[in-house]
Symmetry: C2
Subunit: 324 residues, 2 copies
């Protein structure tokens, strides 16, 4: 069976073979640029691995996987512009390297190109793949809108936050796996289970990201950045703290959030202390664990031999940073 690393290699190779016209240069060059400044290729690899659960041949999953990766990079291009982020993967973002209009239009073209990949799927798969893809795509847009709406609110609830990350992040991971399963000719009950698996794992991934911004183990992940704290990003931790019952800590937290001038390290330290007092590391880890277990439960129910599930299960454990 195919390992994650093998799938990543396949995706990188296939992406190089996707032909983009040379001209208009300002439309296609930014697409090549964002695709080749890196990225783990997690989602398309999950499509291949989802297929591989059910079939030894993963060829049918290549175009669905490419569609997913193009779509994901389209969202990055537009999200970076909307978030005014200057840097992605240590490179200038497209709207910085070129300009805002080019980021808008190249992103649009990339979204169309992702549907072009759907149209190149095996004919018996196209209609199903199109529906799954549309569903995931609209959810990602909805999630991004909620995420932007949350910026101007301080009363976001944990449930709203979980719904938002389910839409913005988990739905694409769920869709990636489901398209893979169907490309591998799974029965529809199994495709549903794989979708559920992906959804819960996707939520766990995002909570993990939120946690690592504050508590990354420097020996494993490099230095923790605290970037979310500095930017007042509404993460699981910040929202939990804003909803805590401890009125005093909440008021200290609000003061830090409202401060326009502050020392970066001081703010990170102060807010991390609040998180510590509220035991948010433990709370978030427990939440991640529960989504992780919920996901695995769905994977366990898939009607194939347990042997075929080992690689995928181990990958997820590794990504979630679990030893057992």
């Amino acid at each position: 069976m195919y390992t994650f690393e093998h799938c990543q290699d396949i995706i990188n190779k296939e992406l190089e073979d996707v032909s983009f016209k040379d001209s208009p240069v300002n439309l296609y060059e930014p697409i090549r640029y964002i695709l080749f400044i890196g990225g783990k290729r997690l989602r398309p690899s999950l499509t291949l691995m989802g297929c591989n659960l059910f079939s030894d041949k993963i060829d049918n999953a290549i175009y669905p996987a490419l569609a997913i990766e193009l779509f994901h990079n389209f969202t990055l291009m537009h999200d970076d512009l909307m978030d005014k982020s200057d840097i992605r993967r240590n490179y200038s973002t497209v709207h910085k390297k070129w300009n805002e209009n080019i980021a808008i239009l190249s992103g649009d073209a990339m979204l169309v190109k992702s549907y072009e990949c759907i149209s190149k799927c095996q004919e018996s798969l196209i209609i199903k793949a199109l529906k799954i893809f549309n569903e995931a795509a609209i959810k990602v847009c909805e999630g991004q809108q909620y995420d932007m709406d949350f910026e101007n609110r301080t009363d976001v609830t944990i449930d709203e936050y979980l719904e938002m990350i389910e839409l913005k992040t988990a739905s694409l991971i769920a869709g990636s796996l489901r398209m893979g399963a169907l490309a591998g000719k799974s029965i529809s009950e199994d495709a549903d289970l794989i979708h559920e698996f992906g959804k819960n794992i996707g939520i766990a991934f995002q909570l993990q990201d939120d946690l690592l911004d504050v508590y990354a183990d420097p020996s494993v992940f490099g230095k923790s950045s605290g970037g979310d704290i500095v930017a007042n990003k509404k993460t699981y931790l910040l929202i939990s703290a804003l909803n805590s019952k401890d009125q005093e800590l909440r008021s200290v937290l609000r003061k830090w959030i409202e401060k326009e001038k502050f020392d970066r390290d001081e703010k990170i330290k102060a807010i991390t202390e609040i998180y510590n007092k509220l035991k948010l590391k433990e709370l978030t880890t427990a939440r991640i664990d529960s989504f992780f277990k919920l996901g695995l439960k769905s994977l366990d129910k898939v009607s194939i031999s347990d042997n075929r599930k080992i690689i995928l299960r181990n990958l997820i454990k590794r990504l979630i940073g679990r030893k057992k």
Copy 2:
């Protein structure tokens, strides 16, 4: 058979029935807004009329038509943002009424929604419709990029301009008609002819737009705006003038283009005089006529009775402003 007006009514009614979720409000409200501040519904009506050439039942063409109209309005939303236009159809544009991020993301969602309409087509049509739609969509993006590239150039040739409007404007009209024809179960040769018809008519429409900005007959079209002249928009007329052999007129023209401060009416008058001296009204009218005739030639070849072509032919004549 269905008239244009009847098709417009059908589209307006069907658009009202397309359900958009209520929330996130900032994602879906701008979509409803741009769809219902008006518009002639030309493209989707052409889809219905293209279908009606071959079939008395146009139900199969409804979803392809809605996909086209959603796509067209997505391009308007993003183009207005890229062009920094504040007004569309006498209403504030989306990025003005809301903000730029909302215009980006609602536009993205609208593009996804257009593909959702494709996925709702009759099953036997989906794969073909998806391919035609993708082809048209990517061409529209390419055309828009060339159009933006042209803003910074003074050496654009007539051939480059014609290629640009073929991509940006004509390809969607061609695709609208072709999807209609296929929804009406035309043979593929006829669908090709209808596509060619749409392409040439689409080019003629754009040249007509360029002409009317300068020479609209006030009794027919209301006052001519001269908006393209004021904005130095690279139209067929401006490019023709910039490529004229008359060095003196060219240099006067360039001076007007480079002027940062000017009286609006004075500039319109001066540039219109240059166009008059170069006989650009006659030249452009002749060009429109030749594309119009080229288009009709394709329509004539379509293997159905001439009776069925009358409504569509008369509509195009009316839109191109021809009496015979």
